[in-house]
């Protein structure tokens, strides 16, 4: 049998994106030993791709902003099924977390009076996103990484966790393999923090990196933790549609924040045709007002292009389906038009949106200062994830914490742009703090040899199946088609039932997936091991989506196109039943305290 090395830490952090790094910093600061594991090299996590910015009500650009407005915006965006306590903590603490980054060396863009500059983003009432051009994620990850490397945190790069080890209902550690040699490693830890990011790779068209295979979601699920809100997947309205090799690649919302407009093939700004009632008071009544808003005129209201992502994505979908799409099946996003308004528009665009300029120039041979882009919806983010306690980020398994995209609650049915990066640092910090506390007050739990041996055996099985085995890449690709086609942006019961049938067949094929060769850096083998995670999260998404018989936020059902108040009172939970099947439950949402209700009422006008 393959033998395993072992490591032991007070706190083990799985994932080195913004959430994992912030958690590691906090735990290390509390004086406990910290190990950090990531699938890639340090600094490469998906967070690096974030573009537009991080939301924090610092009021540097508009002094009417404060935590209450941010809280109300987040709840409205999430269609009120958010964990209100998380939304409250997030809105209150984000400003301090952002300022702290500056003390660690982050260099944000500045206002004329030298403060951190903030930009407009969909669903945020005031300019609220601290940013660095359109490479905010890089700034965040590099700042945290460069701070962490001086703290004595032990980093295990290119290690992949394949199982969490639980002892008597409490977390005990994790089993991992390293890419370089394919050896196994056992980590024992008093507390474990999952910060593994999202699940975008379950879909064909996605903005996510290869790492987004839902590992943390699936690890927690298999260990017995509860997931919630898995039906809420965010399809970002603007992904590239051409050329095929970059289909899905994100075009930042910042383009619309800087004045970019959406047009169909007839040249019509279709977003003005469909403005939801609850957003009408805040939305511009004509293009001129929308333009003034993007240029910082405080008396103007935002253009409809900056409505929430779920809505914009569906409007685009509708235009394309109605035959008003572009040659490659998208719509036009035009920033070049601002030359009618601004002198030196080309320079302005290049300065404000440098990586977008770069991206289109190099990948599509298109100059965005001269021509409109072709864009369409892309799978971007999952609101659902591991159910956690709002204050401590502890999951339903004692000693197991979760933060960042793999945790759920703050975003409800739809996340506002910019609320993820701030979520990472607010709740990453909290997870680190409470995990350290847990480690200080609990002894390590036992790691059973049987669990380790089982885990290794399952992991090595693909090598025994070479020969007539299934090609893991093919299974993954069929899975992505299934989710894209049947549980995508517009859903109906029958198709989702069909998806469940196909997922069962894919599960069976995945259990026959095999590879040949050596264990060293074997991409095919890694794909085999990713499959079970992708399959588990896909099933959770499909089952939760079937359970929610209404349309809300990122979840849109053609057979139930309206919001139903009866569904506003609970979150859909998924967990593993004792027979190994997936159990779906309805978890009531606790009553919001009167003060918070009042905040929401006050912000409604």
């Amino acid at each position: 049998m393959a033998t395993a090395n072992s490591f032991s830490y007070d706190v083990l952090v799985i994932g080195a994106g913004g959430a994992g790094l912030r958690a590691a910093i906090e735990a290390a600061g509390k004086g406990v030993s910290v190990g950090l594991i990531c699938k890639s090299l340090l600094g490469k996590a998906h967070t690096v791709m974030a573009e537009g910015g991080m939301a924090a009500a610092m009021a540097n650009v508009d002094d009417r902003d404060n935590w209450k407005v941010h809280f109300a915006d987040t709840m409205r965006g999430g269609q009120y099924v958010n964990n209100w306590r998380m939304a409250e903590l997030h809105a209150k603490e984000a400003p301090d977390r952002v300022r702290e980054l500056e003390a660690w060396g982050a260099v944000f863009d500045r206002t004329p009076d030298g403060k951190i500059l903030q930009r407009n983003f969909g669903g945020h009432r005031y300019p609220r996103l601290a940013h660095v051009g359109d490479r905010t994620g890089l700034e965040l990850i590099r700042t945290l990484q460069d701070h962490t490397v001086y703290l004595g945190v032990k980093v295990h790069m290119e290690f992949t966790v394949i199982d969490l080890i639980v002892d008597n209902g409490r977390i005990a550690g994790a089993l991992a393999y390293d890419r370089e040699r394919g050896r196994f490693h056992v980590f024992s830890a008093k507390a474990v923090i999952l910060a593994t990011g999202g699940v975008g790779r379950a879909f064909r068209i996605t903005s996510n990196s290869w790492e987004g295979t839902g590992d943390g979601h699936a690890l927690a699920y298999r260990a017995g933790a509860q997931l919630i809100d898995m039906e809420f997947v965010q399809f970002h309205p603007t992904g590239m549609v051409w050329p095929p090799s970059v289909k899905g690649l994100l075009v930042t919302e910042g383009v619309r924040g800087e004045g970019g407009v959406l047009r169909n093939s007839e040249g019509r700004r279709f977003m003005f045709d469909d403005i939801p009632d609850n957003y009408k008071p805040q939305t511009a009544s004509d293009p001129e007002e929308g333009w003034r808003y993007t240029q910082g005129d405080k008396s103007a209201r935002r253009p409809p292009e900056l409505l929430t992502r779920d809505h914009v994505a569906r409007c685009i979908n509708r235009e394309v389906k109605a035959g008003r799409g572009t040659p490659h099946g998208g719509v036009y996003l035009d920033i070049a038009w601002i030359k009618e308004k601004l002198p030196n528009a080309a320079e302005h665009i290049k300065r404000k949106l440098p990586s977008m300029y770069h991206q289109f120039k190099e990948l599509a041979d298109l100059d965005i200062t001269k021509e409109p882009m072709e864009i369409g919806p892309t799978t971007h983010y999952i609101m659902g994830g591991i159910r956690v306690n709002a204050d401590s980020q502890e999951s339903t398994i004692p000693g197991l914490f979760a933060a960042g995209e793999c945790a759920a609650g703050i975003n409800g049915a739809n996340r506002l742009g910019g609320n993820s990066l701030s979520d990472l640092i607010v709740f990453g910090k909290r997870a680190g703090e409470y995990a350290a506390e847990f480690a200080k007050t609990h002894a390590a739990a036992a790691i059973s040899d049987a669990a380790v041996n089982d885990g290794m055996k399952v992991a090595l099985a693909p090598f025994d199946r070479s020969g007539a085995a299934e090609n893991p890449y093919k299974v993954q690709s069929d899975l992505q088609d299934t989710m894209q086609d049947l549980v995508g942006i517009v859903r109906i019961e029958q198709e989702m039932q069909e998806a469940l049938t196909r997922l069962a067949a894919l599960n069976e094929r995945a259990s026959r997936a095999g590879v040949e060769g050596h264990r060293e850096y074997h991409a095919g083998w890694h794909t085999c091991l990713d499959l079970r995670n992708l399959l588990a999260v896909s099933e959770a998404i499909a089952r939760s989506a079937i359970e929610r018989k209404e349309s809300r936020g990122g979840h849109f059902r053609d057979d139930y196109p309206d919001k139903d108040p009866a569904f506003a009172t609970f979150n859909v939970g998924t967990e593993r039943a004792s027979d190994g099947s997936m159990k779906v439950t309805r978890i009531p949402i606790p009553e919001m305290p009167a003060e918070l209700k009042q905040v929401i009422e006050e912000q409604k006008q």
Binding site: S40, L42, G43, V48, E102, V107
Partner: protein
């Protein structure tokens, strides 16, 4: 659909390596990483390569394509001559792990040897600072670095003379890192002595090869290394400033 041949470096478990030709379909808009993925999915599932974002943002997919250090995900096939085989090999300055993957860990060891950011006291009572955009433009240029290590790969002091291993030379990436700290308006630390004595900035003879390959178009030599060299010179070698310093202390 057209076909093209990719001549990819494959290694054996004993560390030896050779080029192997793979023919694969190519279509409009494809980049080299797409071709490598297609080989992986259909012909060589155990082919090792690093990548994450496929958008030129993470700096994982560095390789030498037809001998030129580049990001595989940002190298479009229509910029290459597909009538000839396209060679794809790992960064040669670093030890091989497998196929296209190299051991870049030395870079992660270099960074903590550079003194970390140490801000001055906050400017405002709420613990914040004021900085003008024009004073941070240069630092922001350096902070665009995606740590692809292509500049390290191409620098002859690293690649041919191995001065990063036996003599502490930190290489262009970390001269950029040091410059970002030294030119940060809030930073109070002094790294000039280290740059001269331990980071060995003197080994750089300004060939500018690093600047030529930087996918982020950072002016590594002109904006980072030369100004740092000037600061070192005026501190340690310029007789007049040295005299002033002696008089002051």
């Amino acid at each position: 659909m057209a076909q093209a041949t990719f001549r990819i470096w494959r290694t054996a478990p004993d560390g030896s390596g050779k080029f192997v030709d793979y023919k694969t379909e190519v279509s409009e808009g494809m980049v080299v990483l797409d071709a490598v993925h297609s080989v992986q999915a259909n012909q060589a599932p155990d082919l090792a390569c690093r990548w994450n974002c496929k958008a030129g943002k993470c700096g994982s997919c560095s390789a030498e394509i037809n001998g030129n250090p580049k990001l595989m995900c940002m190298t479009r096939l229509n910029t290459l001559n597909l009538d000839e085989p396209v060679t794809v090999e790992p960064m040669r300055a670093f030890p091989s792990i497998k196929d296209l993957v190299t051991d870049v860990s030395v870079n992660f060891r270099i960074k903590p040897g550079i003194k970390k950011f140490a801000p001055r006291k906050p400017d405002a009572a709420d613990g914040t600072w004021r900085m003008a955009q024009r004073d941070i433009d240069r630092v922001q240029e350096f902070r665009k670095c995606i740590e692809c290590f292509l500049c390290q790969d191409v620098c002859h002091v690293v690649r041919d003379h191995k001065k990063h291993e036996d003599d502490g030379f930190i290489g262009p990436r970390f001269l950029v890192y040091a410059a970002a700290l030294e030119m940060h308006p809030l930073d109070t630390e002094d790294r000039l002595k280290d740059l001269k004595d331990t980071h060995q900035i003197g080994y750089c003879n300004i060939t500018k090869c690093c600047t030529a390959v930087c996918p982020e178009h950072i002016h590594i030599t002109d904006n980072a290394i030369i100004p740092l060299k000037e600061r070192v010179v005026s501190r340690f070698y310029d007789p007049f400033t040295r005299l002033l310093r002696v008089l002051k202390t």
